[in-house]
Structures are given as C-alpha cells and as structure tokens.
C-alpha cells in the first residue's frame, strides 16, 4: 500500500507492484459473501438428500470449487455438461451420415457456446456469476490463478460491426466442417478384416491423423510466414539465444572457472 503524507519520505513501498498477475477489484468483495450464501444454500439442498455431515461438507466444497472455476471456464463447464448428457443419453449407432436434427442440435449447442464466450468476454463485469467467482478467486493460491493474459476483458461493447455478423458464419462453418469430416471418414465395415481394428477404432485413428495433418500443415504455413517477418531485433535475440543454447555447457564451465579464480585471488 502506498503511504501518505510524511511517511512517503521514509517508505519503501511508494510504487504499486508490477502487474504480474491480475488482482480482483474491490467492487467484487460483496459478491464473495453472496457466493458463500449460495454455496451454503446448495450445501443445504444436498444435505436434504444425503442426510449427513459429509454431504454438507461435500456440497459446500463443490459449491466453492464451482465458483472458483466458473469464472474462466464457464463455457468449458457448459460443454462438459452437454457432452456428459449426450454421452449418457445417446444410443450407439453405426451410421455414416448425420441427420438434419443432429445438425440443428449441434448448431444450437455451438450458438450457446459462442454466445456464452462472447458475453463473458464483452460483458464480464456485468455478470454476477463472474463477480462471484472473481471474489472467490482471491483466496486461491497464486499459482492457481489465471495469468494476466487471460484477464484481458473488454469494458465496452463497441467493436467492428462486421465481426458481429461473422458469429453466425463461424457456427455454420464449424458445424458444416465437422459434418464434412465425419462424412469424409465413414465407418468401414471391413476394418476388422483389413486393419484388424474395430470399425469405430479405425475411424477414430483416421480422423485423428487427418485432424493432426491439417493442424500441422496450417501451423507450418503460418509459422513460415511469421518467421519471415521477424524484426532485426527479434532475429538477433533468437540467434544469440541459439548460440547460448549450443554453447551453454562450455560457457558455464568458463564462468565457473573465472569465478573460482576470482575467489582464489581474494
């Protein structure tokens, strides 16, 4: 804390700490108590069914943990819940094509995820859930907190108009691309005979290889373009660091020798 008045002269702490990590704002402090109340309510509901102290404790801990992780992983939790529901509720059927209903459902889920992500990014300060988890996050150890980069939130909703309309395009492209991928790699009924793998296993491996290849090729292309546009300073630092990596052992040996000689001279 910065001192005031005459203490400034003798104080050591007249500058704010560097922004190595984000600090929760003071506005969220009431939200913490709100969160405690909700967690206690959730725990009480759990206790009604479990009739035990362990249930209360479990519910309380689960409530706090959920508040802590909801902050940045709201969409992740949402996706996990949807995937869990689909995994538990969907029947297994070996078919090659996706139905229109599946496409609409996937598009609906994607809309939810994209909209959720954008809402949290643009209006994070407005979300009570976020404020709640923000307040809870203060009590987490430093290394569990999000880095400063993840704290990059936008204060206003003023952004390019074209970007708003592309959200629909992104969703359509994502669902269409996924459907295309599933169609490109169909279930091979003869997989057991040809590759000694069950059909869905072969399909999984093929899909993984295809996705990995697309990723690697794209990464290589972008990396090449980026690498060619390095500035002179970046290139110099890179060259020097590569040299240091190559000669690290020798340089350290020389340094230790020098230090030893210096110590002996004393």
């Amino acid at each position: 804390m910065k001192p005031d008045g005459i203490l400034k002269r003798i104080s050591d702490s007249n500058r704010d700490a560097p922004a190595m990590s984000h600090r929760a704002s003071d506005e969220t402090s009431p939200a913490f108590f709100y969160g405690i109340a909700i967690a206690a309510g959730a725990a009480a509901s759990v206790t009604m069914f479990s009739r035990g102290g362990a249930g209360l404790l479990l519910g309380f801990a689960a409530g706090l943990a959920a508040l802590a992780i909801l902050r940045l992983w709201t969409v992740g939790i949402l996706l996990l819940v949807i995937q869990g529901a689909l995994f538990a509720g969907q029947p297994q059927r070996l078919i090659d094509h996706v139905s229109l209903l599946d496409l609409i459902t996937a598009a609906g889920v994607m809309t939810l995820l994209v909209a959720g992500s954008r809402f949290l990014m643009i209006a994070r300060g407005l979300s009570p859930i976020v404020n709640l988890s923000e307040a809870t996050r203060r009590f987490l150890p430093g290394n569990l907190r999000a880095s400063a980069e993840q704290e990059f939130t936008r204060h206003t909703a003023d952004f390019g108009i074209a970007e708003r309309s592309t959200a629909v395009l992104r969703i359509v492209l994502a669902v269409a691309g996924a459907a295309l991928l599933l169609r490109v790699i169909p279930v091979d009924p003869g997989a057991l005979d040809d590759a000694w793998l069950i059909p869905s296993g072969l399909r999984l491996i093929s899909l993984a290889v295809l996705l990995l290849s697309i990723f690697l090729v794209t990464d290589l292309l972008i990396e090449t373009v980026t690498w060619r546009s390095l500035s002179v300073r970046e290139a110099r630092v890179f060259l020097r660091s590569v040299l240091t990596v190559w000669c690290d052992r020798e340089l350290r040996a020389v340094m230790y020798q020098e230090m030893k000689q210096r110590r002996n001279r004393r």
Partner: protein
C-alpha cells in the same frame, strides 16, 4: 480443446454421432479461431504504425512545463486494409506524467485502412525529462480464447522545465527619479565611485582634487574630502544540491523538485529586478556552474541547467532482489514484449532447479539477461555472465528502469542504503564550490544554498567554516532546505491526538525527528547570521528577496526567519 478432443474421440469410438458432431464442431471452431487469430496477430498487427501529436506537433523532442496540461493525440494506422475486431491501445506514460483528462488506455477496432485515433490530456509531475516510448497494443479474439501483446514504438523525448512561482517584488523596474540608480544598480553604503555622498573625511594625499569639499574645508579649516557611495549590482548565486539523496522519491515529491522550483522562482524574481543571477549545481562528485548573467536567454539557460540536474541518472548500486527483477520483467514485457517470447528467446535445457517456482524464476532471469543484452548491445556471451553476476545484472536492471521513466523509489534504489546519502562527498563539493565562488566574487554578493540537510545528523562544522568565510567577505548567505511535508504545521508533533495505528506512531516519530532536525539547523546557522527556511513556497522565496534587499542596501540587519 481438451474437452472437444476427448468428446470427439469418445463420440467416434462409441458411435455416438451427435456427441462426435458437437465435439468436432467445437474443434473446428477452435481451429478457425486459432488460424484467424494467428494471422491477425503475427501478420496483420506487424503492419500497424503509430504517430503521436503532442500539443499538435509530432516532433521527436520538445519541452513541457510542470503542472501545465499537455494535449496528446495518438493515431494508429494500418499499412493496408485489415479487420481487427477489437484491440486495447495504451499510450505508455512515464511515471513523470499523469493522465488528467480522458484516458490513455482505450478500446477500439480497425476496419479497412482507416486509422484509429484517440486523445487525452496529461500533466508532467516533476522537472527533468519525460520520454513517451510508444503504444502498447493488446489484442485478443472476441471469445477470450487467445491473447497477445505488442508494442508500437513512437519515441518522443521531452524536457520538463519547472513552472516558477511568480513573486511580486514591488520594485520599480523603470527609473522614476533621477537620483535613483538605473535598474540593476544598487546604492551600496561603502566607499566607491557612485553619485551619492557617503561621508566627509579628512583629506589624504592622493585624493583627487575635485573631490575636496571646499566649503566644509573652509568652515573647519582642514582639507576635507567627499566620499561617495558605491553603485554596484548585487549578484545572486544559487547553489543547488543535486546529489543522489535529493532525487529519491516519486516525481513531483522529490527534494530536488522543491529545490528546482525554488531556484527557478528566485532566479526569476531576482532577474526581474535586473540583478544578475548565477547557478552552481553540485552532486556527490561534480560541480556545474553557470556564470552570473541577465536577460531572458540567461534565465532559460539556468532553467535548462536546473532541469538537467533533475533528470535521474544511473542510481547508486542496489542488490539484485526479486522485486527488482519483477519490475524489470514487467517493464520489458510492456515495452519490448517481442524480446521475451519463448519462440525467439530460447533457453537451454537444465534439469535443476526442479521446484517450479525456482525454475520459473531462473528461466525468467535467463530471458531477461538475453533481452537486456540486446537492448544495450552487449557481447554475445553477456547473457551467461549476467546469469552469474548479480551486481552487474542489478545495475542493468536499474539502468533500464530509470531509462524507462521510473522514479528513484523502491526497488529501483534501496533508500535505506548509506551510499544514497554520501554526506562527506556532498560537503566536499559544496565547500569547494562555495570557496571558489567567494574567491572569484566581489563584495556584497548573495549566496543561496538550496540543500537537503534535514536528514543530516552529523556535525555542521565544515559548512559553518565556509559560511564564515563568505560572511567575512561581506557576502550574505541564505540556507533553504526542502521540506518533506507541508502539513507539518497543521499537525504539530505534540498534538494531543492519540495515535491509533503503527503508521500513526511512525508518522509522529518521523515528524518529531524532522522538527528537531530543523530546529537544530536553525539554531546552529543563526549564530552565523544565516537565515534558514524549510519550505518550497513563497515565504522561502520572499526570505531570499529580503536578504537580497539587505545586500543591496549594504546594511547588516538579519532578515525575517521562519
């Protein structure tokens, strides 16, 4: 991504089409976002350039005045048509400037080839320099998945001159009556070649015959000679303490800021009476003198020299501490983030230390040394040396932080270190400068010593000796010390209020110590006929002007003391 991958794997493996479709859709969406983000961040953002207009001028150098508003307009232009949905721009301000109206951090977007522009108003805090290095661009996608920070250099360097306090000197600057000497020339009550009669004395062989007062000689029957007054200019010499100790603290609150404000104001007031003013700046080792002079040009020369004194140079060496490293890392990450990227700044693999905290600290230090090596153009083996040499790395960190506009506060300097206040060296340079001024000066000069002596608890004998020397040559001496807190009078040290916290107790103790130190200084210097002031306000300037008046008249009455 992990959820998408696991979900797609499970969906395909279990033949659950909808699960596979949803999870693959997430993966494809992430992939598109990643490609678009990398294209924008690594290719398009490099095409941005920045231009800054300060008070409507885009010159790389310029001049500010403390506490006067500066209008800054920043324009970020793309080199070609691009679409960046939103980005956060921050015009990096040094610690010596504060944003007073508007914001130097704004959110915006780029559409097509149109530039993005924003304006704000800032105020310089203290005299010295202010370097506006450029604009930090923070860019992320609209979903909060990816983030990157870049820096657009737009370096502009400004000198910050002190805004002087105007004092009404109440002296006519035009000659009203013929008997008055012209402005800048004062009647001194010592024998000289003036036009006013000082005294009559008996004739001494060698006196010019025209000075013989014939009528008085006839009356007294003895040859009498008329002795005239001197007409002299009163030269004021300002001795400015620019040692390390005066530069400690936040900009605008440092002792040197008060000293410079006082020196500038005294110079302005004195020169408005057409009295010549000289300046001697001294630190722990060096002395820099500006000879006495008059006129607007000379005044700006003095201001320039005072400003030069206030610029923080390389501070005294400090230990390499984790906060110092963290501040350097954070500043470097703000100003030159590209030098710290792991892709560019690679590290050799080392097994030890295994603990994540220490490992992270070591890696950060290694990256920092490589980046500083590039910034200061050190030899290729410097990173390895700096990794082992704590003192050298600490000096480089201090240098980088100081050049980045950080004030001499913790952790840039360790203010408790004895090396910050080298009193012996300070007195050496002061006594040498004052002795030289006395040796080269004429009679009846005014020496204003602007010194930070409040923290000094040792013997003042060396200072007293040189003051005695100046007094013996009929010079007048004024000592003015900067005062850390103007609220001291409002809250006396023996206030009946009970302290509540440890801070209150420490504050009271500090206050008591300062008052005692001030009383001691006053007591010791008053014996020599030297008035002492402890403030950077009008009263201290008026005290100096009163002393100047006394010097002009040649009288020896002591001035008003605070």
């Amino acid at each position: 991504m992990l959820l998408g991958t696991v979900g797609a794997g499970l969906g395909v493996f279990n033949a659950q089409e909808l699960l596979a479709l949803v999870s693959l859709s997430v993966l494809v969406w992430l992939f598109f976002e990643w490609v678009q983000f990398r294209w924008r961040a690594d290719v398009q953002l490099r095409g941005l350039s920045c231009e800054r207009l300060v008070n409507g001028i885009s010159s790389p150098t310029g001049r500010f005045w403390t506490r006067r508003l500066v209008r800054i307009t920043v324009r970020v232009s793309p080199d070609s048509s691009m679409r960046i949905p939103w980005l956060r721009l921050e015009d990096v301000l040094p610690e010596n400037m504060e944003c007073s109206d508007g914001a130097n951090i704004v959110d915006g977007y780029l559409q097509g080839a149109d530039p993005f522009e924003f304006s704000y108003t800032a105020t310089p805090r203290g005299a010295g320099s202010a370097i506006l290095p450029g604009v930090t661009v923070r860019f992320g996608d609209l979903q909060g998945l990816f983030f990157i920070q870049r820096f657009l250099p737009a370096r502009q360097s400004f000198r910050v001159l002190p805004t002087c306090i105007g004092i009404d000197t109440a002296h006519p600057t035009t000659k009203q009556v013929n008997s008055l000497p012209p402005p800048g020339i004062h009647r001194m009550q010592r024998a000289g070649m003036g036009s006013e009669l000082l005294e009559l004395r008996e004739y001494v062989p060698g006196d010019p015959p025209k000075s013989i007062a014939w009528k008085v000689s006839a009356k007294r029957d003895v040859l009498m000679t008329r002795q005239y007054e001197s007409e002299v200019p009163v030269r004021t010499t300002l001795f400015v303490d620019a040692s390390f100790g005066t530069k400690l603290g936040a900009f605008g609150l440092r002792p040197i800021d008060q000293i410079i404000l006082l020196a500038g104001s005294i110079a302005r007031s004195t020169m408005s009476l057409r009295d010549p003013v000289g300046l001697v700046c001294f630190d722990n080792a060096h002395t820099m003198a500006v000879p006495s002079g008059l006129g607007e040009r000379h005044f700006y020369r003095i201001l320039d020299q005072l400003t030069e004194c206030a610029v923080p140079t390389q501070p005294p060496l400090a230990r390499l501490t984790t906060p110092l490293l963290e501040h350097t890392w954070a500043t470097l990450q703000d100003r030159q983030p590209e030098l710290l990227l792991p892709r560019v700044n690679q590290l050799p693999f080392r097994l030890f230390p295994i603990r994540p905290f220490l490992r992270n600290l070591n890696q950060r230090r290694a990256r920092l040394t490589a980046a500083l090596t590039e910034v200061y153009g050190l030899p290729a083996d410097a990173p390895s040396q700096l990794e082992q040499d704590d003192l050298r790395l600490a000096a480089l960190c201090q240098r980088y932080l100081t050049e980045s506009g950080l004030a001499w506060t913790w952790p840039v300097v360790e203010r408790r270190g004895r090396e910050v206040h080298d009193w012996d060296a300070r007195f050496d340079t002061l006594t040498a400068a004052l002795t030289s001024a006395v040796a080269h000066g004429r009679d009846n000069e005014l020496f204003v010593l602007l010194l930070d002596l409040v923290d000094y608890t040792g013997s003042l004998e060396r200072l007293k000796q040189v003051i005695r020397l100046a007094r013996a040559r009929h010079h007048r001496v004024v000592v003015i010390c900067p005062w850390p807190d103007e609220t001291l009078k409002a809250k006396p040290a023996d206030s009946p209020e009970k302290p509540d916290t440890v801070e209150d107790l420490v504050e009271r103790a500090e206050r008591t110590r300062l008052v005692a130190a001030a009383e001691r200084l006053k007591r010791e210097l008053r014996r020599l006929g030297v008035p002492v002031a402890f403030a950077a306000d009008r009263r201290a300037i008026q005290l100096t002007l009163i002393e100047a008046d006394l010097a002009r008249s040649g009288r020896s009455t002591a001035g008003v003391r605070r």
